[in-house]
């Protein structure tokens, strides 16, 4: 037991939590970029130009049907970006395909009357989207976006293996190097799992609560 207790030092915990910070930072950056890129793709996908629509569709299909790890490798080794940049870019590419679908749903959730109303009031198309439609759509998109955030947080664990970026997973693995006993190794696994679980589970619960509220709001 003392073996395990030896793990719970302030230094170790801070070390891991810094890793968590890196995890959250990359995830948040990736999600933020993905929302922007995903929105653009989604709007392009509903464009009147067949070519633009085709490009957007191909983009979504390609990134939806290939593994994330591949894109991490690609941005890191092929594009030769620095680790954090490569990570954010890979996640953005991969996640924006999913976010585009979410945004599509969100846009579709805004009643058509809103478009008509905006138009009748003389808003231009970009104005209509930016000022009228997207703010409303965003409300419906929040649960799905948070879900995507959870996925991204989990997926950042690849980064250590792929490019030795010291996020939570990487920090845990580094920590393992300084402890030898099996019990301690598994305890570190447990701690990592617990941290991931707490973060992701909390977010999932928020998603659920928010969704319940949306459903009630829609029903009531």
């Amino acid at each position: 037991m003392s073996d395990i207790a030896a793990l719970f030092t302030w230094v170790n915990m801070r070390f891991l939590l810094q890793g968590l910070g890196m995890t959250l930072l990359i995830s948040a950056l990736a999600i933020a970029c993905s929302v922007v890129l995903g929105t653009v793709i989604s709007v392009v996908r509903t464009s009147n130009s067949r070519v633009l629509r085709g490009v957007a569709t191909v983009y979504i299909e390609v990134f939806k049907n290939t593994p994330l790890l591949l894109w991490i490798m690609f941005t890191f080794f092929v594009a030769q970006l620095p680790p954090i940049g490569a990570a954010v870019l890979a996640f953005t590419l991969f996640t924006s395909a999913s976010v585009a679908e979410i945004v599509r749903g969100g846009l579709a959730s805004v009643p058509f009357g809103q478009y008509e109303a905006a138009r009748s009031q003389g808003f231009s198309t970009p104005q209509t989207y930016l000022l009228i439609i997207l703010p409303q759509a965003l409300r419906n998109m929040v649960p799905a976006l948070l879900s995507q955030f959870v996925t991204t947080i989990k997926d950042t664990s690849y980064l250590w293996g792929a490019m030795a970026l010291q996020e939570l997973m990487g920090r845990g693995m580094i920590l393992m190097n300084s402890y030898n006993s099996t019990v301690q190794i598994f305890a570190i696994f447990g701690i990592m799992a617990a941290i991931y679980f707490v973060v992701c589970f909390t977010l999932s619960q928020i998603v659920r609560a928010y969704q319940r509220r949306l459903k009630e709001a829609r029903a009531g």
């Binding site: 009147n48 593994p67 994330l68 879900s147 293996g161």
Partner: protein, 612 residues
């Protein structure tokens, strides 16, 4: 940038093609095995998660939450570390299969749970009232229905699973991603190998996600038949319960968010549902004629209420009883005997079907003559053929004729209903005069009808007399048809199925059909035998209880026939109600549902365009 993809690098990669294939094979192998494990776990935990026993539900909850909220890679690492401890040396391949199987088992169990949750409570209650045990209910009644709803997200899960096998690269899993990394690391030719890997992953995953899309659309198209709003519910539910796999929900969620049925009716192509109808009662066909004739009304807009549905279902039962009574004359004992046996009821059913066909035949002749002025072929088969072709362009007057013709026969209540719908379809003022005219028409039509029918029945009777065996087998076929026996693949060939269901029994086809039917019957009997064995508690009771088993099998048989019929009606009617409500909601402002071009390019259009 270009030298990343320099030709000599491609050549170096091309030399390794056997390794690429081997790695690709490993990926496929891991995926397939992991999918099997995930499916097994998913179904077991999915069923347990709706168990009545609270601890079982808790266990599944913990399993699902842990698996879903901890990174897959961490789980893989734990497995990787834990097996040597247990004294097992497991290859990375098997660790991957296990870890990924368990991981996706959690997701699939949520999918299964949602699927079960989407089945109407009434199904559980009905099963219970029929004496099914909990497990029988689950595996015989509920899961088969849920599968239709489960399939689309399952296909998405399969695609995700394939993508996730790439994680194993980090524990030297020997699969595609690992090969790519090690090739890239060894040669530092990074470019080509990742492109090839991307293409290979795409080759597996893209068909799977297309399949998901296709299944989802098909489910949606069939939603009125069995699932109600299940797809929507699932869309919301999966989004809710499986954080991060919103692409499970993909389109379902998008459409659910888009605000439900209205959008769906606008954007979803319901043609598949029309082309692959479930086996239906002949009287449905009659009703369908009326619908088709009434012009503008869509296939989803049958104006039935639940009460009407119940009445019609009743009526059809009575119709069949009447057929039987007609066959037996005043002989009560004969009627009772016929009614008790399945073969008797089936015979009555077929007579009813023929009568409806004859009715349609007369109507077809009338309208054909009205339109073309040409004489119709005399053969009854040709008439039926002609009717099928003409069914789409009937005039309201002809339709009135149909309604009043039907009214003169025994099935007045049903046809009154048909008629009510015809009347209610907008040309109410015209209906009076039309029906007056049709009075005359029916007066002239009856003489035409009678010989027509006589010829038809006589012809088929001789044919059947000549082929007594064929008749029996035809009944078997009929039986399979009534049992609504779902044969995998049948739905995939909608045209074939439609013809199977709709075509009047062409004697020439009976041989082929009956072979089919015999096979199906055998399968059915085997299944019933197994069920009966289970029901009677195993082999020891079977031996001295053979007769009982037979009775049980018959009982189950009958229940299935009746349930299938009842179900079919309930679905149709429910659909009618939905359509009714929808119509009420949408008709006032049909223009309002169309998005102005350019402001918000039509979502539905786009969805369809992209689906193509």
């Amino acid at each position: 940038m270009l030298d990343i993809f320099a030709p000599y690098k491609w050549e170096a990669l091309a030399e390794r093609w056997p390794d690429i294939l081997a790695a690709f094979g490993t990926t496929v192998g891991i995926s397939a095995l992991a999918l099997v494990i995930a499916l097994a776990l998913g179904i077991v935990f999915g069923v347990l998660s709706v168990s009545r026993i609270a601890p079982l539900r808790w266990i599944t909850r913990v399993y699902v939450e842990v698996v879903q909220n901890v990174p897959l890679l961490l789980q893989v690492f734990v497995f990787y570390a834990i097996f040597p401890l247990l004294g097992l040396s497991l290859a990375a391949f098997w660790i991957g299969v296990l870890a990924i199987g368990i991981y996706h088992g959690g997701y699939i169990s949520e999918v299964v749970r949602s699927g079960i949750g989407s089945i109407h409570r009434g199904q559980f209650e009905a099963a219970k009232s029929q004496g099914f045990s909990y497990w029988q209910t689950m595996f015989v009644i509920i899961l088969p229905q849920a599968i239709r709803i489960i399939m689309p997200p399952l296909a998405v899960q399969a695609a995700n699973l394939v993508k996730n096998t790439s994680v194993l690269a980090l524990i030297a899993g020997g699969e595609l991603m690992y090969f790519s990394n090690s090739f890239a690391g060894a040669t530092s030719y990074y470019g080509p190998v990742y492109v090839v890997a991307a293409i290979l992953y795409f080759v597996i995953c893209f068909p799977l996600s297309r399949l998901a899309l296709y299944l989802e659309r098909r489910t949606r198209a069939h939603r009125h038949l069995s699932t109600g709003d299940a797809t929507e519910a699932l869309g919301e539910d999966t989004m809710e319960v499986t954080p991060g796999t919103h692409d499970i929900t993909g389109r379902a969620a998008a459409d659910a968010m888009a605000g439900g049925v209205g959008t769906m009716l606008d954007t979803v192509d319901i043609a598949p549902a029309r082309q692959a109808p479930s086996p239906r009662h002949p009287l449905h066909v009659l009703g369908e004629d009326a619908d088709a004739a009434s012009g503008e009304r869509g296939p989803l807009e049958q104006a039935f209420t639940g009460r009407q549905a119940a009445e019609i279902a009743d009526e059809i039962g009575r119709e069949i009883a009447q057929e039987i009574a007609e066959e037996c004359g005043d002989d009560e004992a004969c009627a009772a005997r016929v009614m008790r046996t399945k073969a008797g009821r089936l015979r009555a059913h077929r007579r009813l079907e023929r009568r409806v066909a004859a009715r349609r035949g007369v109507e077809g002749v009338a309208s054909a003559e009205a339109e073309t002025g040409a004489a119709e072929p005399a053969s009854s088969h040709a008439v039926a053929q002609g009717v099928r072709d003409l069914g789409s362009n009937r005039t309201p007057a002809a339709d009135e004729a149909l309604a009043s013709r039907a009214e003169t026969s025994t099935s007045d209540r049903i046809t009154k209903d048909v008629r009510k719908r015809v009347d209610g379809s907008g040309d109410a003022p015209a209906a009076g005069s039309a029906s007056a005219a049709s009075g005359g028409m029916s007066a002239t039509a009856i003489p035409e009808d009678a010989p027509e029918r006589a010829v038809r029945e006589e012809g088929s009777r001789t044919a059947r007399r000549q082929r007594v065996d064929a008749r029996d087998e035809a009944e078997l076929d009929e039986e399979a048809f009534l049992d609504n026996d779902y044969v995998p693949g049948e739905l995939d060939a909608p045209a074939e199925r439609a013809s199977h269901v709709r075509a009047p029994r062409d004697e020439a086809d009976l041989d082929a059909e009956s072979r089919d039917a015999v096979a199906r019957r055998e399968r059915e009997e085997r299944r019933q035998g197994v069920e009966a064995r289970e029901a009677t508690g195993g082999p020891e009771t079977v031996e001295h209880d053979d007769v009982d088993m037979e009775a049980l099998a018959n009982e189950a048989d009958r229940a299935a026939v009746e349930a299938a019929e009842r179900d079919e009606f309930a679905m149709q009617m429910e659909l009618g109600e939905i359509a009714e409500g929808e119509e009420a909601a949408t008709t006032p402002a049909p223009e309002g549902r169309k998005r102005p071009n350019g402001v918000a390019p039509a979502d539905g259009d786009n969805g369809r365009g992209e689906d193509r």
